[in-house]
Amino acid sequence: MSERIIDPAAKGWATSWYEASARARVDGLLDAGSFREVIGPEQRRMSPHLPLFDLPRAFDDGMIVGSGRLDGKPVLVAAQEGRFMGGAFGEVHGAKLVGLLRAALALKPDAVLILFDTGGVRLQEANAGETAIAEVMRAIVQLRAAGVPVIGLIGGRAGAYGGGGLIAGTCSRLVVSEGGRISVSGPEVIETNKGAEEFDSRDRALVWRTMGGKHRRLTGGADAYADDTVAAFRQAALDLIGRAPAFDLATLEAEQARLEQRLTRFGDCRDGTEIWARLGVNDPEAVPALTTAAFDTLLASLGETTHDAR
């Protein structure tokens, strides 16, 4: 399964990360033809639980794992398919990622790349999904402690929500695009539980100011901001592999300080634009419309958004 599913040259368009399938992302991210899938779709390791709910299954349960090369470097890769069950963690889905991370501990690749695209836990397999997320987080931390960087890439339709947001927070480094969202509770969940006064989920601009890629990058929740192209994600992942922070007491103490400082500085802010203004952004209202180049220039002028405290 290593054909070029999308040939950018023939289309005259860069391939959008947001629109691409999980397989197309993996295919375009890695060196051409280098991806080797483990437990491919032909093995039909599908969810044993979805039929109980009369729901269709996917051959790969929405999680694609395997190995490949990134600019020649050996890496392991996991990719979630956000369109199948919202990319949510079920038993097989989660176990494939757990297995990949455990394999990495022995194989010591140059990095593990996790291509997030998830709404969180799959409700129909909630206990399995939640437990798998806990297993994933423990495995990531062990890998990081062993010196293997774990890089998260977030720019899919489903974002990185729920437990996916927690796993993202455990990674060594995160790449995010404008469309990427990172959050625990989704806007609809907050609105359902707390009312539209708390969060109007139909106000999409508000959603992105609160949990979108630019906001996360500006506030240090992500380390790199990429254009919505597979090529840009590939470049960003390459850049980050060599700059992964250690996992030790010093890092977590720095993170504690960073997060405490965020509460002190921004704890009373009601909107993303207020936070950006306090960060020193001259025209916060203009941030959502900034092009990648202009946004990168802005980031460069705000030193504190780049850190090793993760």
Partner: protein
Amino acid sequence: MTLAEILASLFPEGHSVTVAEGLVNGEGPFRGGRLAVIGIDGDTALGVDGACRLAGYVLDVVRRGGATPILVAIDSDSQRMSRRDELLGLNEYLAHLAKTLLLADAHGHPTVGLIYGHSAAGAFIATALATRVLVGLPGANPSVMDLPSVARVTKLPLDRLEAMAKDTPVFAPGLDNMVRTGAVQAVLDPGQPLAEQIAAVIDALPADDTRDRAGRERGGRPVAEAIAAQVVREAALG
């Protein structure tokens, strides 16, 4: 059991554990040393402020060194659902809290989760599920989502879900189902002193993450272990 009863059973000689705004912190004498306790009480939702404080407590224990075990006692709501929490990056705070517990474990502090009330979703993952071993007390009620909410989202009738929940531990809320999934290793006996039971749990800490094996043995997660093992077997750098 209430938190006070738990603490009394753990620390017959007294302790310094306090609860403020639902956050639990302190310690007590334990097997000639100390047992640190952090946690959430009173079905409190875990937001950015609480997660940050709990993480600070864990780092304090690690900084003090030794091999002080950490008990994470949980009766919480889910993560706090608010615009402010998400604006400030709740995922980073919850992940940070989990990471501090995992770091403590790596630094030789045995970490034990104890769920004695409710817990759900992000709050559960960031606390009790981030320990080396999680045990429960009868009456505890971990859940990802209650059945009426599941019914709403899946558009399945509640009575059918209730019937399915009886023999499908993979999705149904409740302590027994989390035991069968392997997330909760054991249920303690509230009639016996907890100090000895926790000590026994610490003495038997598994070296690796054995939750998926337990899930297979107990029937709650029939295939996870085999899938993960197959990936470990077959993955190779190319």
